[in-house]
């Protein structure tokens, strides 16, 4: 009985589709995948871009990853270590992973714990510029206990120790291949970065950077019947609309990713009958960040910093609440996102156990009530119809990155705010500048030389601890820390900081969920940000492609071994 349960568990873990199990390796022929942003490199440690991580997920695999429901499943590891099964130490300062038996690389050599230790050292090397360094935070030591066992020791208790080697952003590299690529040599290993040897279902035949990758089935893949496809093309280039067309209308491709296309256009294409639009929701939220500090240009160096003083009117809770109430989020979702967006009032919109219902007031637009709130707070319309109090006019500079959907959203919000007597000036900045860290540019989202700014943020995996830590006082960007920091609203609340510390030492999931909810509500009710849209991922698959499970918690290619062609 116990053996049977274990076997069933293993089967579920591998997400074996019952249909695909009948087919053998390579029976489905050729698979065409289209990513309109082309993959640049196949080493996720040197590129954080989703396109690159998804492409490398076809080849490289982590110890454990998330399934389509956000549950952690062992991948190269035998099982998920927990305190109960002894894999995580009682004091939460170490975790011990054990590799599956008999794992081999695509070149036929065995996978050992030395490869895992090497990968950790590879990324943690100071001079390598590793992009997944945050995943190795607080790790003091990674050691191999035997051929298949790896022990990771932390500096301090880690209630959620599953960051390193969990998820497609942190797969295992082969030591033999990458041993000369550590530190400053990392970027120069073009051959390795373009053709990593992995344990995944496919091996790289040809890599054309920013263009096309050709792959074929890994002859040494651990499941003899998989992958069902003998070869695949991972094509890049073009734009989202043409990618959607290639799957839905012309049928030239089997799978297209990230179809941020006008919802009406996408619906029209889906009538082509060649494929299906699929969507799923993760943790991404499009939100307005509210500047709690004064961005007045007259302040010079001190603008948008704590020293520059509080914002003239956005520090008034009534104003922030009115601004939020005036927005019709359902309409924004319908106009800009279609199947890929739904209204939200929380900055943590998923997983379900973390989602608060305390802020749902904002789901329904109520201009009359917003006006009433402003009236009661003493903001009265001036001669030009703009509300003012003590000589301060409600005039907002609202900035975001250049993107058709964002500019539509800006225009709608501007109109609604004008209905409550708030004047809005719109500004959009090229994404590479807005999200770039150029110290000399005044237009970065960290400097926040505006009253309101809009963008999307999210957290990887399912644990929001690091994400919630973004709004600590110490995370406020300022000239002292070179404007590095995630606390864009310049929100500073000692109670919130205390909750961050409490979360860091709480292990039980239910308690963690309660704390996260409390933090989310605090941020919402203090108006540090105004969430708008819970954003999903939209992809398209050809009707003949089976086994696709759109996964927002991990790479979209996570279960590509199970994909197959319908008869």
């Amino acid at each position: 009985m116990k053996l049977k349960a274990t076997l069933l568990g293993a089967a579920a873990a591998l997400a074996l589709a019952p249909m695909a199990a009948q087919a053998g390796r390579g029976d489905s022929g050729h698979l065409n995948i289209l990513y309109w942003q082309a993959a640049s490199i196949l080493n996720p440690y040197l590129s954080g871009g989703n396109k690159d991580i998804d492409a490398s997920a076809l080849v490289l695999e982590p110890l454990a990853r998330y399934d389509e429901n956000g549950n952690m499943v062992p991948w190269l590891a035998e099982s998920i270590p927990t305190v109960e099964n002894g894999g995580v130490s009682e004091d939460l300062t170490s975790i011990t992973w054990r590799l599956k038996e008999g794992l081999i690389w695509s070149d036929g050599t065995p996978v050992t714990s030395a490869d895992v230790v090497f990968t950790a050292n590879y990324c943690m090397d100071e001079s390598g510029g590793c992009q997944q360094l945050a995943g190795f935070a607080d790790i003091s030591n990674v050691e191999a206990l035997d051929e298949r066992t790896i022990k990771i020791t932390f500096d301090k208790p880690k209630p959620f120790p599953y960051s390193a080697f969990v998820g497609s952003t942190m797969p295992i590299l082969q030591q033999a291949q990458f041993k000369d690529c550590v530190g400053t040599n990392a970027p120069n290993c073009t051959e390795q970065n373009f053709g990593p040897i992995g344990t995944g279902p496919f091996v790289v035949d040809e890599f054309k950077a920013n263009d096309t990758i050709s792959m074929s089935a890994n002859p040494n893949y651990r499941d003899a019947d998989k992958p069902s496809f003998a070869s695949l093309t991972f094509k890049g280039g073009g734009d989202a609309a043409s990618a959607a067309r290639a799957v839905l209308e012309t049928g030239e491709f089997d799978y297209a990713w990230n179809l941020q296309v006008d919802p009406t256009v996408l619906a029209e294409m889906a009538k082509g009958g060649k494929g299906e639009v699929i969507s799923a929701f993760g943790t991404a939220v499009e939100r307005l960040m509210v500047n709690m500090t004064n961005p007045d240009p007259a302040l010079g160096e001190k603008r948008s910093t704590l020293e520059g003083g509080p914002h003239p009117f956005l520090t008034d809770p009534a104003v922030r609440r009115a601004l939020s109430l005036a927005i019709d989020r359902a309409l924004l979702a319908e106009v800009g996102y279609g199947a890929a967006g739904k209204p939200t009032c929380n900055v943590v919109p998923a997983p379900a156990i973390y989602v608060s219902t305390a802020n749902d007031e904002c789901l329904v637009q109520d201009i009359a009530k917003a006006n009433q709130i402003l009236d009661e707070a003493g903001w009265m319309p001036g001669p030009d119809g703009i509300r003012q109090k003590d000589g301060v006019r409600l005039s907002i500079l609202y900035q975001t990155s250049t993107n058709a959907v964002r500019q539509d959203t800006q225009a709608l919000v501007k109109d609604w705010w004008s209905q409550i007597g708030v004047e809005t000036e719109l500004k959009n900045i090229d994404a590479a500048v807005f999200f770039g860290g150029d110290q000399s540019s005044p237009d970065t989202f960290q400097k926040f030389y505006a009253d309101i700014e809009m963008y999307t943020n999210l957290f990887d995996g399912t644990d929001p601890e690091a994400y919630m830590g973004s709004w600590k006082c110490s995370e406020i960007p300022s000239p002292e820390n070179n404007w590095l920091g995630n606390n864009m609203p310049r929100y500073c609340n000692s109670e919130y900081d205390a909750l961050v510390e409490k979360l860091a030492v709480t292990a039980a999931l239910e308690e963690r969920a309660a704390i996260v909810k409390q933090m989310n509500d605090m941020l919402m009710q203090d108006g540090a940000m105004i969430p708008l849209i819970h954003r999903g991922s939209v992809s398209a698959r050809a009707n003949s492609l089976q086994g696709v499970k759109l996964n927002v918690w991990d790479s979209q290619m996570w279960n590509v071994a199970d994909w197959s062609r319908a008869e």
Binding site: Q131, T184, P187, L458
Partner: protein, 337 residues
């Protein structure tokens, strides 16, 4: 002529060095950041480390000199070594111009993309010229006829319809509705037999069509204007008075003389072939030089953009020189010495 050519080539060296410095300054002063397009889940401290690892911590003049050394010394040495199969001046440690995004040598990326760019953009240039010259000749000879009017109309369409519209239009007609041609260019296709050759032709039809329309529009106008200038010349009347056949007058006397300015225009357009076609390449996913450039710009990939734009600058300077020399060869009245 030889003296003139050598003088021009020598003068080009300081010009190109100056251009490379200006390009570098523009890229460096632009508020673009190679880590700007990374997901927000990567924390700012890690971004700073990435920037350091890309060498962005060095002072600007140092980075420019490094690029100069890598591009003018290391890259030619590398090409030499690859041809000769040697390893001169310890080639193991030689730093090449490396892209920030792909972490691979920029020159290799460019070489990898040249075939599809030359096939598609080059072919469209040739096709465009082959169509444009007869249209220009007939339009001028039969000025204000229905053919001339139709030619004018097509040129105006070619001039005014942008490729992001005409490209999508031909895809909707020929790929979606009729299903004759693929809408996506397969860069991995290797022409080895008749079938793959047909496939290659098929996938080239749509992008070449879109690009050739533009070339045709431009060159046929030049050709027509030049022909009209010459048709009214005295020597044409003389030739006719001598009793020459109309065909000889037109194709030997007028056409040859009219081609002189057109050849200059064609020569000056050749660098743009190597520059690729940014929009059309995106529409059909040809992924040539143009797409490489636009990805580099979007990703803040300074070494890639710097190298590509500099190569364009070299090609433009050379094309100007070639055009001037051709002019001298075609028109014996022009002498530079």
């Amino acid at each position: 002529m030889l003296n003139y050519t050598i003088r021009r080539l020598l003068f080009a060296i300081p010009v190109l060095l100056f251009i490379s410095f200006i390009i570098f300054l523009i890229l460096d002063l632009a508020p673009s950041d190679p880590t700007g397009n990374l997901p927000l889940t990567i924390p700012p401290e890690v971004r700073e480390k990435i920037r350091q690892s890309l060498g962005l911590g060095e002072p600007m003049y140092w980075r420019y000199l490094m690029w100069c050394k890598q591009f003018f010394i290391n890259e030619p040495l590398n090409i030499w070594d690859q041809w000769m199969g040697t390893c001169s001046f310890n080639c193991e440690d030689r730093l090449r111009v490396v892209s920030y995004v792909t972490r691979s040598p920029v020159v290799d990326l460019i070489v990898e993309r040249l075939p599809q760019t030359l096939w598609v953009v080059g072919m469209s240039y040739v096709v465009g010229i082959l169509i444009a010259i007869p249209i220009g000749v007939i339009s001028a000879y039969r000025q204000y006829s229905w053919f001339d009017q139709a030619g004018t109309f097509v040129s105006m369409v070619g001039f005014s319809v942008p490729p992001f519209f005409s490209g999508v239009l031909v895809i909707v007609i020929f790929s979606v509705q009729l299903g004759w041609f693929p809408s996506i260019y397969d860069t991995t296709l290797k022409v080895v037999d008749w079938d793959t050759f047909v496939l290659q032709l098929k996938q080239m039809v749509l992008p070449v069509m879109v690009l050739a329309l533009q070339t045709t529009a431009q060159i046929s106008r030049f050709m027509r204007a030049s022909m009209l200038d010459n048709l009214n010349m005295d020597y044409v009347r003389t030739a006719r008075a001598k009793g020459m056949k109309e065909r000889t007058v037109l194709l030997v006397h007028v056409l040859r003389n009219s081609l002189i300015p057109v050849v200059t225009v064609i020569a000056l357009g050749v660098p743009s072939v190597f520059g690729g076609a940014i929009i059309t390449e995106q529409v059909f996913k040809v992924n040539g030089i143009g797409q490489l450039l636009i990805i580099g710009i979007q990703g803040g990939d300074a070494p890639l953009v710097q190298t590509l734009t500099f190569i364009f600058a070299v090609l433009i300077v050379l094309a100007n020189l070639i055009a001037d020399i051709l002019y001298g060869i075609l028109d014996p009245r022009i002498r530079y010495d």
